[in-house]
Symmetry: C2
Subunit: 122 residues, 2 copies
């Protein structure tokens, strides 16, 4: 989106579909996909290994976790390091860009709480 929502002004936009250049789409890409926010929350507490992440989310399959991590790494939000030797150990860690997501996650939580307060009958 080319404008903020806070009433700063509404300039007409020329595109009509989600664009990769739109900040909102960029932020959404980071938190989209099932389990994405849960994986991010775990990583917010510090580096985690593949199995530590699995242990925290038992009903998440290895395949989906792999997909989620690949996506986060591809977006530059998470970095991955492997220990040499055997068995291999990996460590996934938020990058400085990934840490930028913290306020967004907080805001998601805050907004959700506000909605639950206003609409307790859902």
């Amino acid at each position: 989106m080319s404008v903020a929502f806070a009433g700063v002004g509404h300039q007409t936009v020329t595109w009509d579909r989600p664009s990769a250049q739109c900040p909102v789409e960029v932020a959404l890409a980071a938190i989209s996909g099932r389990w994405a926010t849960l994986v991010l929350r775990d990583l917010m507490h510090g580096p985690r290994s593949f199995s530590a992440l699995r242990a925290g989310l038992p009903s998440l399959s290895a395949k989906v976790l792999t997909e989620r991590l690949e996506s986060l790494v591809a977006q530059g939000l998470v970095s991955c390091s492997r220990s040499p030797g055997f068995p291999v150990r990996t460590s996934y860690e938020l990058t400085s860009a990934g840490l930028l997501l913290r306020p967004l996650l907080v805001e998601l939580y805050r907004t959700g709480e506000a909605l639950l307060g206003e609409l307790p009958d859902d």
Copy 2:
């Protein structure tokens, strides 16, 4: 999620999958689905008719717009009023709960901008 991300403390959670009671999931549900944030942005500027929304998002099909609106109405975020007579006119408008999403949309935009600044090479 049962805890915020701001370092208030990390209590072990007992569930292991996205839950409808989790504030984060509630907020996510409001903004998920393609075009959802764009529809919400339009509505943030005031009531809109079905075709006004379509006109603003030309590549969005009637079916998907209907789905998005139904979802928002079902969540209590948007209300819909129909004019009597013919042809029918509808007006979609954010409820007070829907207005609670504004800061979240702003934060999405802000975070996206920050990410684009930190990762211009995507």
